[in-house]
């Protein structure tokens, strides 16, 4: 018995309850559901409860109720069957009630799986009336309502980026010539091409302190000139820069 009960794969999160666990054990042992070897199943069931406990997982009371039911059935199975059946008819199989419960649960489990396989609305099939965001290509992350951002949020985004870059790089003195005008032109060019971009996207790969500051200043300048607009979807959300005039 021991070698049968020791090597369980732990997949506890897949059990939807004690009945589910029992069904799993029955399937795993290739047992006929109508003729459950109660001793074996009870042992394995209790083994599982131990695992759940040892993992400090929340053990729902229902699992314990089922454990006691199993033990009760096991003990009843040990009692000798009376030789003369009582007048009320046949002695009922002590497992009958549990079998009935298991079968009922199993049928609904299957029905649930079947439901899940149907062509679901908004997953497999779609109707006409749903509104679509205008920016098709960006819509995945852009389907919330946009709200205008304040200067503080822009500064915060700026701060986030600055704190992200490696401190070591800050000591390097870079003599590369860069002017705000260049960056402004660069930003405007990319915005007309891409329609809208986040601050991070505008910086691209070249994240260094100077570049961040210049880009930030360029955006502020552009906002002042009313050439771009900055929006974000929610507080602390990603800030998107849009060209102010549709090109």
């Amino acid at each position: 018995m021991d070698n049968e009960t020791t090597n369980y794969a732990i997949k506890l999160d897949i059990f939807e309850g004690p009945l589910d666990l029992l069904l799993y054990l029955i399937k795993k042992n290739e047992i006929d559901i109508y003729n459950i070897p109660v001793a074996l199943i009870t042992e394995q069931y209790l083994q599982y409860l131990k695992i759940i406990k040892s993992l400090n997982l929340d053990l729902a009371g229902e699992y314990l109720v089922m454990a006691s039911t199993l033990i009760h059935i096991k003990s009843r199975m040990l009692l000798p069957v009376p030789e003369e059946p009582s007048e009320e008819g046949a002695e009922e199989d002590p497992r009958a009630e549990l079998i009935k419960q298991l079968l009922e649960y199993q049928s609904f489990k299957e029905a649930a799986a079947d439901l899940g396989k149907r062509p679901l609305l908004e997953r497999d099939v779609f109707t006409r009336s749903a509104p679509i965001t205008d920016e098709v290509d960006k819509s995945a992350e852009n389907d919330d309502e946009l709200m205008e951002v304040s200067i503080f949020e822009l500064i915060e985004a700026f701060h986030r980026l600055v704190s992200r870059i490696d401190k070591k790089d800050l000591l390097e003195i870079d003599m590369e010539k860069m002017s705000i005008t260049d960056i402004i032109n660069d930003v405007m060019e990319r915005l007309t091409r891409e329609k809208n971009l986040t601050f991070e996207e505008l910086l691209g790969e070249r994240i260094d302190r100077r570049r961040i500051i210049y880009t930030f200043l360029a955006i502020l300048e552009l906002i002042k000139l009313k050439m771009v607009k900055a929006y974000q979807t929610s507080a602390f959300g990603v800030i998107r820069i849009f060209p102010a005039v549709e090109s």
Binding site: A60, L103, V125, A140
Partner: protein
């Protein structure tokens, strides 16, 4: 009315929700129900035959144009929506409500063997089930049933279109044999 098929097509397209046969008949005031039904059937076959990207479907007691499920990946790309998925617990609970309604929470729990408060709440939020009333027993427990939205979401004409529960029939037969065995 010779262009009845075209009219019906227009009505269904313009309707926000699945359009019921009765409603179509009301709009086409002089039309016979059988005539409308025939036109609908012809429309459905036409859409099927020309392998259109949309199909006319009978759902939730009405008719509605829907995209074909094989094309879902494209439509999803366009809309960029993530499908709201149901957990196994929610799906099981929903199945039990769908097949056994009207049903109270305790009955669902006796089938699933676990507490179903959380999945029930989720299903109510998603408007897939609704409170039908209260049972006239001590404690007046809430009775649940499925909604029209459930039919729409799961692409069902009506509740009778739910497939039969396989095991239940088998179960009853088997119970008889168990009893025979013990007799």
């Amino acid at each position: 009315m010779e262009n009845i098929k075209a009219i019906i097509e227009a009505l269904i397209l313009a309707a926000e929700a699945p359009l019921a046969l009765d409603k179509i008949c009301v709009v086409l005031d002089e039309a016979e129900k059988t005539e409308v039904k025939n036109a609908l059937d012809r429309l459905i076959t036409e859409y099927d035959e020309r392998q259109s990207g949309i199909c006319l479907q009978e759902v939730a007691g009405g008719f509605q144009f829907r995209t074909r499920s094989e094309l879902s990946c494209w439509v999803k790309k366009l809309k960029g929506t993530k499908p709201a998925s149901l957990s196994p617990a929610a799906l099981e609970t929903l199945a039990i409500v769908a097949y056994r309604q009207p049903i109270v929470k305790m009955e669902i729990e006796s089938i699933r063997g676990v507490d179903v408060s959380a999945p029930l709440r989720g299903l109510l939020d998603k408007k897939l089930i609704r409170i039908v009333g209260r049972k006239d027993v001590p404690g007046k427990p809430i009775i649940y049933g499925t909604t029209k939205k459930f039919l729409e979401v799961f692409n069902l004409k009506d509740l009778s279109e739910l497939p039969n529960l396989r095991e239940l029939k088998e179960l009853n037969e088997q119970q008889e044999t168990i009893q025979e065995f013990y007799e």
